[in-house]
């Protein structure tokens, strides 16, 4: 196996495009090294992106935030402005694994690992985040919802790498929230998860909303019907009930060691409702 | 003479009796006589039988004496974690 650590995105793309055999991008390694340990992958080439400058920072711009692909989730948690603007995205990122894992793992890694239960993905989808993808044919922007296509599968092509994630700018009355259900308090994989991102208009009426669910389908879902249920409301009980049933209706889960179809379908409604309440309160809405 | 109580699985080898009366002064003598009188008990003794004398369980020490009038219970050998 070869370990390569390029210093800019172009070199990374070149290495990824030209290398033969099983080629893997290494960011935090918290998924890749586990798969290597289990013998599920045997890379011929590993391209470590942590030495690439463009991938290593969090930038606040007029359009929002640009988060480099190699930035650890711990660093997201330490970024005060990001935490203030996108509390849901940050709390999702900070739920991945332990403090030890946090020191390594990245949201781009979480996205590209394409697990249906990935914590940060529903939050990023609800946030309307965009992945900046570099490849042999240049740069393109991709909705995060379109990166994962199924368990372990992405839409990225040979030679492509995500350089950063762009989060939009926030109005004062916007907030997001992410909740997951796990049997343990920490160190666990989401059995089901929900992210809600919303913006309030006058009198606490929800002007805009996005709702996303994790671990209830082959990939994280955007649930427009759930968003529709609360837009134009002040998150009254009827709206919450509608959102909850829209969440359950959107579920297409499997029975596995972590949960059952029935359980996931039921709890998706509960988490959708609770996440909406949390985001609403964060945005300044009063009930 | 001592009345020796048997746990359930041992009873068939003594013809179904819940207890047997044996003249024995020690655990060793008890086992020897049990084997003589009830040959079908031998596999159990080989596998390991604990002897409770007045509520104190002896797993290994066959030299223990059986005081006159004491309560004697045979139990399967116990394992632990």
């Amino acid at each position: 196996m070869q370990y390569l650590a390029p210093e800019n995105t172009a070199d990374a793309v070149a290495l990824l495009s030209k290398s033969k055999g099983s080629v893997h991008v290494l960011a935090g390694g918290s998924d890749l090294l586990v798969r290597m340990k289990g013998g599920y992958v045997e890379p011929d080439v590993i391209v470590d992106i942590k030495h690439i400058k463009q991938m290593n920072g969090i930038k606040k711009t007029a359009d929002g935030f640009i988060i480099g692909a190699a930035v650890s989730c711990a660093k997201l948690g330490e970024h005060v402005a990001l935490r203030k603007a996108w509390p849901g995205v940050v709390e999702a990122a900070n739920l991945i694994g332990s403090d030890q894992i946090q020191g390594r793992c990245t949201i781009v890694g979480n996205l590209c690992n394409a697990s249906p239960a990935a914590d940060s993905v529903p939050a990023l989808i609800a946030a309307n985040a965009v992945a900046v993808v570099h490849g042999p044919k240049g740069e393109r922007d991709v909705d995060v919802a379109k990166i994962g296509t199924g368990p372990g599968k992405t839409s990225l092509k040979k030679g492509e790498v995500v350089e950063s994630i762009r989060l939009p700018a926030r109005s004062a009355k916007s907030a997001d929230a992410y909740l997951r259900f796990t049997p343990r308090t920490e160190m666990d994989i989401a059995v089901v998860s929900a992210a809600v991102n919303l913006t309030l208009g006058a009198k606490g009426v929800i002007k805009d909303a996005r709702v996303s669910l994790g671990a209830v389908a082959p990939r994280a879902l955007l649930v427009p019907a759930a968003a529709k249920a609360i837009i134009g409301t002040t998150l009254d009980d009827a709206a919450l009930a509608k959102l909850a049933s829209a969440c359950s209706a959107a579920c297409n889960p499997i029975d596995d060691k972590r949960g059952t179809v029935a359980y996931r379908t039921k709890v998706a409604a509960v988490l959708g409702r609770r996440a909406a309440e949390s985001a609403y309160a964060r945005a300044g809405g009063k009930k | 003479m001592a009345e020796v109580f048997l746990w359930g699985a041992l009873r068939p080898s003594a013809g179904g009796a819940a207890s047997v009366t044996i003249e024995a002064k020690s655990i060793r003598e008890l086992f020897r006589k049990l084997e003589e009188q009830f040959p079908r008990m031998q596999p159990f003794i080989d596998e390991g039988i604990s002897v409770s004398i007045d509520g104190v369980i002896y797993q290994d020490d066959w030299s223990q004496t059986l005081p006159e009038g004491s309560e004697i219970y045979l139990l399967p050998r116990i394992a632990g974690g």
Binding site: K37, P43, D48, Q100, I101, R104 | -
Partner: protein, 157 residues
Amino acid sequence: MAMLVSTTINGDATDFSCEADETLLDALRNRLSMTGVKEGCGTGDCGACSITLDGALVCSCLVLGAEAQGRSIETVEGMSDGEKLHPLQQKFLEHAALQCGICTPGFLVAAKVLLEKNPNPTESEIRYALAGNLCRCTGYDKIVRAVQDAAAQMRRA
């Protein structure tokens, strides 16, 4: 293909060679005989192999040896200052915060990072900060108390 990696470990310049796909945990244990770094799972789920890498708390089983090039590593072996134990080490002993002791190095490294960031953590903060370190013997009670006591002592110092 073996690689030569130059690092600083517990303050000492240290070179080691390792395979490209070898974890830092394996390199520390097998190449440098630093067996204070324990392997409980090899998949980042138990924290027994916790170290710091340029100050960040990580599981060394989820780091490639090659990634340590030019970086600074700290392990339990570097915690005491000569004869003087780190307050956490001392309090773990006094509170009997270890039974079998296999998880102890990882707990000590993680707790040290916690107290550097947060010198006065609540019980709940300690519990969440140490959630990546599994202990099967103690039920965590005495570990949490030892960390609280060490934190108090370090605040006084």
